[in-house]
Amino acid sequence: MNAVPRTVPTAEATLLPWAPELTGAPAAAAPPPPPRSTPVLGALWLPLRLAWRQLRAERARLASAIAGVLFACVLVFMQLGFRSALFDSATALLSAMRADIFLMHPLTTVSFKPEMLPRIRASQAMALPEVQAAVPVYLAQATWRNPEDGTRRPVQLVGFDTESGVMDFPGLAPLIETLKRPDTMAFDRRSRPEFGPVPRLLAERGPFQVQVGNRQMEVAGLVEIGPSFGADGNVVMSELNFRRIMKERQASQVDLVAIKLRPGADRDAAVARLRALLPGDVMVMSQPQLVAHERNYWETATPIGFIFAFGSLMGLVVGMVIVYQILFSDIASHLREYATLKAIGYSNGFLRRAVLSAALILAVLGFLPGLALSTLLYDVVGKGTFLPLEMDASRALSVFAMIFTMCGIAGLLAMRKLRDANPADMF
């Protein structure tokens, strides 16, 4: 038999009614009017779902991708945590010195090696009517002998007129009367444990003697300051007691001058007037400026800031390479499927959104355990190192932004592989 054209049903060229012949579905059942979600939502949701189904299908690959993101996440959290903990602790002593304004020698770069300024500047500052009091502050390091095992360690001494009420350390106020007595001092309860279990001993036996420098001093109470780079522990005492330990120090040369303003005085205006009033051998700073000055030293004059920024960046780069590799090989091994999708009418945009969705799913799946693990590590490492490591929402958010960006870039890079999916090669 030769080709006899059969009679063929004529129909409209495009959409034909769907015939449910073999399904047993009642032919009369018209499709319900479609209650529609917005197409925009579908344009984002459908590629996301496709990406998730693809990721989910290969557990091992998914697990290694999540591990990569988690690794980057923990690394960045630890780096940022250490960084801010170190800077916080670097300025612990100055942050605890609660006065309004400070005078410092202009050549002093960091508080643990101060240049000295003439004591007379304190009296000169009093010339300003809004200044209520100005007291000299003496800083020095001396040897502390551990009251329990006798080991020695340098401790930071802070001596000033404790009665003046100019500089208020946390916990100092109730000790003012006690500290008037000769050879007494207040110990920083947050000092490192190498100084001995001072708070416990104090609670058990009451005030007791400790050797500081060559002198027996009485620990009369506790203040709260915290260790810093320059000092593992601190003690606060009156100016007189300070000079008893540091006999060679001249009273006329001081390390800082702390100034208290009258209630209601404008601090910034007072700073400006003091600058005009005093000679060029002093620098006038409000307390936040003093803290910022100290922090600036650690950030710029030491490689600490760079080290942590570099560490974070490396974590992100490694994480990005891992995510990129996973996405890339995912696309490469599914090229035929992607080409098929293009052939049946999926746009490039849809497939790009699917790849990007996969990247962002990995960001979320890696970040959440990363956040949990980092919070745990902050706790453990913080206890071990006495660094103030604390998870806070703003850091969590910024790390999430970094991880999200990292995965996004990896997705954008991997996306280029989609070009190799050519629907014309499918036949």
Binding site: A25, P34, R36, H334, G345, Y346
Partner: protein, 235 residues
Amino acid sequence: MATPPVALRGVTYAYGTGDLARPVLRDVDLSVAPGEVVLLTGPSGSGKTTLLTLIGALRALQQGSATVLGQELAGASERERTALRRRIGFIFQQHNLLGFLTARQNVAMALELDPATTERQRLARAGEMLAAVGLAEKCESRPDQLSGGQRQRVAVARALAGQPGLILADEPTAALDRQSGGDVVRLLRDLARRRGVPILMVTHDPRILDIADRIVAMEDGRILPANEANAVRAP
């Protein structure tokens, strides 16, 4: 009568450019009537696949004119071609199903392109299509749990699910044994015919020539006159 689903006039195509240009199609005229089943045969390298990719808007037309389902392909943009592809059902040599989706989800992929459907409608329709190809029990199976013939039947269901106006198939039986190959193309032909959908199918397989309304033979980039084409079928 309105323009037929496929109407090619003077289509010429070459791979490569300049001196390296190798003509593969020369002045091809071809039309497919509504509901017609056309088989395209010819020796290897004669340009059948190339012609199919042009009609399927998978490649840009170089010369001549091609109207497919009302869309002129000469000078059509990528966007227009993508939109046209959604109205065509493709069946490839390999099934090309997505391995991480079930049979039903694979078929539903062809429906997700239509924003006017809900997820429930899509899955219901996909289930009906799978029932229509005799795979009602395999809806939730993944492709690697199916036989070759079953996979190709899922591909048929996917191609038909979107209510295409045209089916293009390139050697759909090549990867199948004789029995299941024959079953699949007959199933395809029956389902398409009931819906009045025309089919253009490239095949080397002499056992399935009988499904055709018309056989078109190609050689060296040209379409042979009708009597020579029928000679292919006689022996």
